[in-house]
Amino acid sequence: MSAARIEVIVRDGGSVVRLSGRWTLATTSQRVADLAGELSRVASPAGSWDCLNLEAIDSAGAILLWRAWGRAMPSDLSIKPEHWRVFERIEAADHEPRAALVPLSPLHGVMVIGSASIGVGRHLVDFVALIGQFGLDLVHVLRNWADLPSREISANLYKSGVRAMPVTALVGFLIGVVLSYLSALQLKQFGADIFIVNIIGLGIVRELGPVLVAILVAGRSGSAMTAQLGVMRVTEEIDALATMGVPRGLRLVFPKVVALTIALPLLVLWSTAIALIGGMVSAQVQLDISYGFFFQTLPRVVPAANLWIGLVKGAVFGAFIALVACHFGLRVRPNTESLSANTTASVVSAITVVIILDAMFAIATRSIGLPPV
C-alpha cells in the first residue's frame, strides 16, 4: 500500500500541490497531525490542487483535505470523478460546524443548588407515594387474603434472609470478639472486670446487632433489589407485567418489603447471639470470666426490653431498606449509566436512612430498658 504523499510543484505563474498515494483512514490515521500540518503549510487561498494521481480516498482522508481547504472546494482542482463524489457528500453534510462550548452562566452556583433541592424534593414526593402505595397494598391484601404474593415473599425471605446467615454470623462473631477485647483492656486497669457483661450485652443487643445487620443487608440485598428492578425496567418487563394487569406495587414492591421486614429481625436475633458468643469467648480468654458467670449475669444487667427494642429496630430498618431499594430501582432509566448510578444511590441512601432512624430510636427509647442503678 502506498502512503499518502504531498508534493509542491512550482510552474510558471504559480505552484500546484500534487497529492498522490492512498488517502484512507488505514494509511493516514498514524500521522494525521503531520499531514494536517503539512497541508495547512502548502495551502494557499488561490492555490491549485492536482488530485489526479490519488489511488484511493475515503471520508477520513477527504475530511483532512476539506479542513485544509477551509471547508470549501478550491477553485482550481483537478480530480477523478469517483473521488469528486466523496467531496460532494462532505459538502452536502457540512452545514453545522462544531458548536463552541457554552460559557458557564454567572448564576451557575445558584442553579446547581436549586436543581439539587428540586431533585431532593422529587425524591421525597416519590418516596412518600411509594410508602402510600405499600399501605394501600397492605390493606388490599388484608381484605383479599388470596391476593397475597406468598411465593414471592417466600423467595425473598430465602434470598435476603437465609442466604445472609453465614456473612452476618461471621461479622457478628468478629465484632463481639473485638468489642470484648478492647473493653477488657480498659476494665482491667480499674479492676472492673465483671462490667464486661454489661458493656457487651447492652452494646450488642441494643445497638450494634441491629445496625450492623442492617448495613450488611442494605449492601447485600438492597443493591440486588435495585439492580433487579432496574434491569426489569430496561428490558420492559415491568411494562409487560402492567399490560397483564399485574400491579407492580403488589407483585414487586410488596413482597420485598414484607420479606425484609420479617427477615431482618430474625437476622438481628441470629447475629446478636453469635456476637454475644464471640464476646463471651474473648472475655473468658482475656479476663478469665467463666461462661457460666456470663450466662447468669447477662439477663440481670440487660433487661429483656433491650432485645425487643433491637428486634423492632430490625423490622423498621428492614422495611425502609426494601422501600429505598425499590424507590431507586423504579427510577432507573433504560441505560447502563442510570442503572449503576441508582444502585449506588440506593445503597448509600439505605445506610444513611438506617443511621438516621437509629438516632431517632435512641432518643425515643432513652428511658427504656436500662438496668437499675
Partner: protein
Amino acid sequence: MTTVIRIRDLSTRFGDVWIHKGLSLDVQRGELVSLVGGSGSGKTTLLRMIIGLLMPDQGSIEIFGEPLFGGGVARERSLRQRFGVLFQHGALFSAFNVFDNIAFPLRELKRYDEGSIHDLVMLKLSMVELLPHHGKLMPAELSGGMVKRVALARALALEPELLLLDEPTAGLDPDRSDSFVRLIRMLSEELGLTVMLVTHDLDTLAALSTRVAVLAEQRILAYGTTDEIIQIDHPFIRNFFLSERSVRALQNSGLVAVHH
C-alpha cells in the same frame, strides 16, 4: 478478484450436537452475500466466528488472507478495524448519545482532534440519512429504524472494507426495511464494500445479494446467484424460496417469472 472471507473445513460442536461439519465458503471482494438457513442452523454462530467472537473448534477462517487470531494485539486490532459489524439489535452503547456512539471508534484511535471527529461523525450521520440534531439523542429515544441507522454509521466509522450484517431488517416495518436495504446497497456501491448478511427476509435477500449461501445439513449446501439456487431440488430450498409467500416476494423483484 481477491478473496475477502475464506472458510475451510469449519466444524463446530455445542455439547453433542454438530452445528457445522466441514463447512467451506469463499467470499470475493465487492460481493453482497446473503447467508440463509433454517432456525438453529448456525447462521449467527458462523457470523460470530467470522467476526472473531467465537473460536472455531476445527478448521480455519481467514479475513483478507490473514487468520483472525494470533500474531499479537496490534495485528489483531488492525485486522478488526478493517471490518464493521451491524448487530441485530444495534448494540449501541446505552450510556452514550448518538454522536458519541459514532465517535467512539474514532476516539479510540487517539489520532484525531475533536474538530475532525465532529466533521467525520456529521458526515457519517448524513450518509445514513440522519440529521445533525439526531446526534444529541440517547439510544433509548430512538425508533427501531433509527437504531439500525446509527449502528450502521458506527460500523462505517473506521472506513471498513467488509461489512457484516446480522438480520439487518428484522423488526423493521416493510417500508423502513425497504429504505434501509436501499441505503445499504447505495453505500456498498459507493464505498466499494464487501457485504455479508444473515437474513430471514426474502425481500432483503432479493434486493441486496449478488450471491446466496444456503446453510443446511451442517454445511454450505449451495452457493450461487438467486437464479441458480432456486433451480436446486432440496426440501429446505423448496420450502424457503418456493412457498407461496416467497414466490410473491421474488416476483416483486423480477427474479421468478409469473406462471399459473
